[in-house]
């Protein structure tokens, strides 16, 4: 697997994505209020917070699925106006979902191959014939997908329809599909929800490997505080749509506001 491009000369440690004063509401319900933080190139950034804190909404804003009423988002130094999700994808933002959003009728291979869509360009004519350039392209991308399959250790299920897979494996296939996009920024929405300890360990290993080997920047939502503390470089904490803390795992875990948010304030 190749390392993703370095993206307009952004070096490790520079700001890759900046969220600045973002507010989002549905009708009268405020999901996010004036949140600012940044994600630096090459880091694992965790977003944590109690249920309903606006974490998933934040990811939805980042990849263009929701449009915030206020605030700015800067990705790779460019400020974004309203953009469609596929534009975010073509700029290099990939995503996994809280409730697995795989293509249930397709096999593991086809799911991951679908992640290569943006990289495949052979035209309709060759697609009709499935020979010549179209077939060459297909084989070339299949090779790439097989590397991902090896990396995630899911060789045995490559031809199984994903609807039939157990939950843990589905999560893994979903990670594979996101990796197939060779993203610069990978958004993971609770990648370990509902997993047992062993599966969590596997998934943690994959996340760290992706980050180390390919330098992919990762933004991660997770409820398991242990995992967050071990994996992430920096943590941002949301509560009721507001940012209440931001810093290294050690700083955050000793922050009084965070402790109150998780354990409740004595009345």
């Amino acid at each position: 697997m190749r390392a993703p491009g370095d993206g307009h000369g952004i070096m490790a440690g520079d700001v890759l994505l900046a969220v600045d004063g973002v507010s989002l509401s549905f009708g009268g319900v405020k999901a996010i209020t004036d949140v600012s933080f940044d994600i630096r190139k090459g880091e694992i950034r965790a977003i944590i917070g109690p249920n309903g804190a606006g974490k998933t909404s934040m990811l939805n804003v980042i990849n263009g699925f929701y449009h915030p009423q206020k605030g700015r988002i800067t990705f790779k130094g460019e400020m974004r106006r309203r953009m469609r999700p596929y534009e975010a994808a073509s700029q290099g933002i990939a995503r996994t979902f809280q409730n697995v959003a795989l293509f249930k009728g397709m096999s593991t291979i086809d799911n991951i191959m679908a992640g290569r869509t943006l990289k495949m360009h052979e035209n309709f004519f060759w697609q009709c014939l499935r020979h010549g350039p179209a077939m060459r392209e297909e084989v070339e991308h299949r090779r790439f997908v097989e590397e991902i399959i090896d990396f995630l250790e899911i060789q045995a299920i490559r031809k199984t329809p994903v609807g039939k897979l157990p939950y843990g494996l589905q999560k893994r296939v979903e990670l594979g599909r996101a990796l197939a996009m060779e993203p610069e920024l990978l958004l993971l929405d609770e990648p370990m929800a509902g997993m047992n300890l062993e599966e969590k360990e596997d998934m943690s290993r994959f996340i760290v490997d992706v980050n180390n080997q390919y330098g992919t920047t990762i933004a991660l939502i997770e409820h398991d505080i242990g995992v967050v503390m071990d994996l992430s470089d920096r943590v941002v904490v949301l509560e009721y749509g507001r940012k209440i803390a931001d810093g290294s795992p050690a700083e955050v875990s000793s922050d009084q506001a965070v402790i109150d948010a998780y354990l409740g304030v004595p009345h």
């Binding site: 990849n63 699925f65 469609r84 999700p85 596929y86 975010a88 994808a89 073509s90 990939a94 995503r95 979902f97 959003a101 795989l102 293509f103 249930k104 009728g105 397709m106 086809d110 191959m113 679908a114 992640g115 290569r116 869509t117 943006l118 495949m120 052979e122 309709f124 697609q127 009709c128 014939l129 499935r130 179209a134 077939m135 392209e137 297909e138 084989v139 299949r142 090779r143 097989e146 599909r177 996009m181």
Partner: protein, 358 residues
């Protein structure tokens, strides 16, 4: 025991990605094609060719078209017959303007006209989904059907309001009109259907097919992966309408020989939808199986009792057909929502294991 991939090793990704990776399947396909291209024209009688095989192929083609839209991309259409009509009328007009050009060219060209109209009526899929979209396709059905009646230009101002197909030659052999032999019409149609089925299969197994299925299974995730929803849906509408249009042109030129607007009613659309459901949504094989079942059922109903000496009135046959089709739909949805094609798959799987249970 005999139907197995054991011992057939793949040494390249290309071999592993073949549409029929198992050797026995490829042999089976070759045998079927041999029978279709050689056996049937040699041994089939006039009735079998023009009243069974030709209609079956026409409906199979239309069903493939609808399956691309509904089965693979997940967009319900209730207007297939109208797009068949577009193909038929387009082909009629094109052959009127340029009678000397090879008919096959015009049959395919009329597919493109139909594709264009399909894209036009697919545009609302930008904003609306699911059942709502089904209503958009009803708009196409009723509007197009109306224009077949109310726009006299389409049928060259014939007083009958119908379109008549004149004689056309292919390399000096008549393929349409009263002098065309059923064998030639059948072979022309079979060639078209074979080539277009091969194209469809290629599309489905490649990037475009995966994008269609991704939109069908989880459109939001598909969009977040860089698949443009509108483009993908419109392409499905275009390809689907192309197939329907070619099927319609073939229906009028190679089967009926003439047509009235009544051929392209909503009931025809429903029938094709049933073929797709009963055959199997998202299966090309299913399109053929469904077309065979739904089209041959009434023929069997007519022929069987007569041969057994039980006379049934024509009207009763029609009513029975409704009841049986209705019951079959419900039966299949309950027993096997994935249709005949899935039954076939299950059967193959059993055969692979046989004689062992696992």
């Amino acid at each position: 025991m005999f139907y197995r991939e054991a011992g057939q090793f793949k040494t390249s990704y290309a071999a592993d990605m073949a549409v029929f990776p198992i050797r026995q399947d490829r042999i089976g396909l070759a045998v079927i094609l041999m029978i279709a291209f050689v056996g049937i024209p040699l041994f089939g009688n006039q009735f079998f060719l023009s009243s069974v095989m030709i209609p079956f192929l026409v409906f199979s083609l239309a069903a493939i078209g609808l399956n691309i839209l509904t089965g693979y991309t997940g967009l319900i259409s209730l207007g297939t017959a109208a797009f068949m009509g577009v193909g038929a009328y387009a082909c009629y007009k094109l052959t009127t303007f340029f009678p000397d050009v090879n008919l096959i060219v015009w049959i395919l060209a009329s597919g493109f006209v139909s594709a264009l109209v399909g894209v036009l009526f697919g545009l609302p899929s930008l904003r609306i989904k699911g059942f709502y979209l089904a209503v958009a396709t009803l708009a196409a059905q009723f509007f197009l059907q109306w224009s077949f009646v109310r726009v006299p230009w389409l049928y060259n101002y014939n007083t009958s309001g119908a379109i008549e197909v004149p004689e056309h030659d292919l390399f000096g052999i008549p393929i349409t009109g009263p002098n065309a032999l059923p064998e030639t019409r059948y072979l022309v149609l079979l060639t078209i259907v074979t080539v277009l089925t091969w194209f469809a299969s290629n599309l489905i197994h490649g990037r475009i097919g995966r994008a269609w299925m991704a939109v069908r299974d989880m459109d939001i995730a598909a969009e977040l992966m860089g698949i443009k929803l509108l483009d993908t849906k419109l392409l499905a509408f275009a390809v689907s309408s192309f197939y329907a249009g070619v099927a319609g042109a073939c229906m009028v030129f190679l089967w009926y020989g003439s047509a009235e607007p009544e051929v392209f009613t909503i009931n025809q659309s429903f029938l094709i939808l049933f073929m797709v459901i009963i055959g199997g949504l998202g299966s090309l094989l299913g399109s053929f199986l469904g077309a065979a079942l739904i089209y041959m059922l009434p023929i069997a109903l007519r022929v069987l009792p007569a041969s057994l000496g039980v006379p049934i009135a024509a009207a009763t046959v029609e009513h029975l057909q409704f009841i049986i089709v209705g019951a079959l739909i419900i039966f299949f949805l309950i027993v096997e929502p994935h249709g005949l094609a899935r039954l076939w798959q299950t059967g193959k799987q059993k055969l692979r294991m046989w004689p062992f249970p696992y």
